[in-house]
């Protein structure tokens, strides 16, 4: 076993093993939902053997082992990086899909209904009831409003109910 650390990654979270051609990432389960870990891990199964584990409460570990067993340090770092980026993408995508459910479902239903000549439910016409202006309050770019302004818009009860978990990206403005 020859343990490897990778430049740019926290050494306690990403560890490689050159002899095995593997890299293990430890993921904080409070930051990334398990579905995102599954989704990100899955994209590696054509190239790697993938093993998920729970080394301790609140953590998930993902070991990616190069199927050919021939990965060098650069290739392992690349795998770790790609996994990390995919994990973020999957986690964020999940949130986006939840938030945009109305639009996504409407368009999907309309597309499938169009393709099978059946009435769509919901259909694009139902978007007349959709509040296009309200979306601005999500302000993904942080331009239209400051965090404080966004915060002020909510009732105290809402704010209490929505306080992000400690360590979550929105927890510290």
């Amino acid at each position: 076993m020859s343990t490897l650390m990778f430049e740019g990654f926290p050494k306690d979270l990403v560890v490689g093993d050159l002899a095995d051609g593997s890299v293990t990432l430890t993921v904080d389960a409070a930051v990334y939902p398990l579905e995102a870990v599954y989704g990100a891990a899955y994209i590696f199964i054509d190239r790697c053997f993938v093993l998920l584990d729970r080394p301790k409460a609140g953590s998930v570990s993902v070991t990616l082992t190069d199927k050919k067993g021939a990965a060098d340090a650069g290739a392992l770092r690349q795998m770790a990086g790609e996994f990390a980026n995919e994990l973020l993408t999957q986690a964020w995508r999940q949130k986006i899909v939840e938030e945009n459910r109305v639009l996504l479902e409407t368009v999907t239903m309309q597309a499938l209904a169009g393709a099978t000549a059946t009435p769509a439910e919901p259909s694009l016409d139902d978007l007349a009831n959709f509040d296009f202006t309200e979306e601005a309050f999500d302000d993904p770019l942080g331009i239209a409003m400051s965090w404080e302004e966004k915060y002020k818009k909510k009732t105290p009860a809402e704010v209490a109910g929505e306080a992000p978990a400690e360590g979550a990206p929105e927890g510290k403005p």
Binding site: V107, T108, L112, L127, F132, T133, A144
Partner: protein, 494 residues
Amino acid sequence: MLAGIEKPSVTFPAFFRVREVSGSFVVTNAQGDWVVLTAPEFKAFGEGTVERGTDLWDRLKVANLIRSEFDVPAAVARLKKRMKFLENGPNLHMLIVTLRCNETCVYCHASRADMEAVQTDMSAEVAEKSIELALGSPSPFITIEFQGGEPLVNFKVVKHAIEYGQRRALEVGKSIEFTMVSNLALMDEEKLSFLLDHKVQICTSIDGPEHLHDKQRKLIASSAFKAAVHWINRINQAYIERGLDPSLYHVEALLTTTREALSRGREIVDTYKSLGCRALHLRPIDPFGFVEKTASRVEYPREEYLKFYRDTTDYIIELNKKGEQILERYAAIFLTKILNGEDPNFLDIRSPSGAGISAIAYNYDGLVFAGDEARMMHETGDDTFLLGRVGELTYDAMMKHPTIRSLVLASNVNGRPDCVNCAYNPYCGVDGVHTYKTQGSISGRMRESTVSAVHKGIMDYLFEKIRENDPGTMEVFRRWTINRARDHFVQVPG
């Protein structure tokens, strides 16, 4: 903060997305309305200090970007207009009539087979079953596109499919159109007469000037370029002889932009011009078919491609200003969405993308795939997007296939990280099969996607031009958004 905005207003702007392009700010909304603002204008917009009655107020109001003035019916109407393509099921049905090909291309997308590989020919029976499945689409109008390999290699089945398709479309009361993508080297007068008599639209591939084309597309013992040019001229002449308007009816060609092409933009345009082509699609090379194996020879970084795109499109615009009529296809697609608020239904740049819901590929062996890229992946060993087999699969089962539903959901830009924040969201789209191939997932990672980089780069270029507002350029752009239907090729029942 962008443009020095100090105190952003929560009450003035309606929902918007923004992108800084060369010092200006492209602001769009969910429906695809847009304005290009200077930095002070964007600051005023962001801070909500725009005075009613000013030019800026009026421009923002027209673009439905002022919250207090927001016009919901207009927004819904615009969104519906842009998404009209959702109404009618798949209309593009690609029949891969053979994998055999007489040419060998350095980047071959189609995963070709040698000329002896007759087992890769589609049978007449599979062609008929494919057409039956295609006619199950609720779309009142279907296009059957013959592809390969080289479709002329299996002309017997092409002929049969055309005759069968014409008869059956008539019987079920649908309009039908046939197109064929061919390198033309195996064309002869008899085949041409048949194709012309049956109103088949013919399209070819031209990779640029003769030396480049012949270097990339090898034809044993002769010039692939000369063969293609001979038949382009012959077909164009035949259209004129049949009384068709040559400005509308002529052979168009497809370009594959390899590394070597990047330094030859002008020569490529001049070649297309000399052949009478009026459209040039500066497509970058894609990862399907055989290109992976030859990637080191033909691939290139996307910044190089975008420089090529800008320089070449500048040149095309200049030619147009001098009276030539030739458009760049990417620009035409995006401009139609941006300037007209309509989607030209280009399946790879659509949200949701066309794979499955708008385009189906029927392989020579009867296997059915969610689009041609999906079919090419099968040839390289991946059946992720296989929907079933003709004769067994019903149209309804095909459209309700979970693979299609997943692709529709995953390729919606409103469910994709990066795209949800991107100012180009209303005009864009990236095919889920492509992201699966390149990044392992059907939703993809747009920050790392070469397709996203290309789309962003091209739209940056177009919005720079729109901001410059040169009357000559804008007139050219306007012309590029006019889609003249080629009715001659559409065979209407009754």
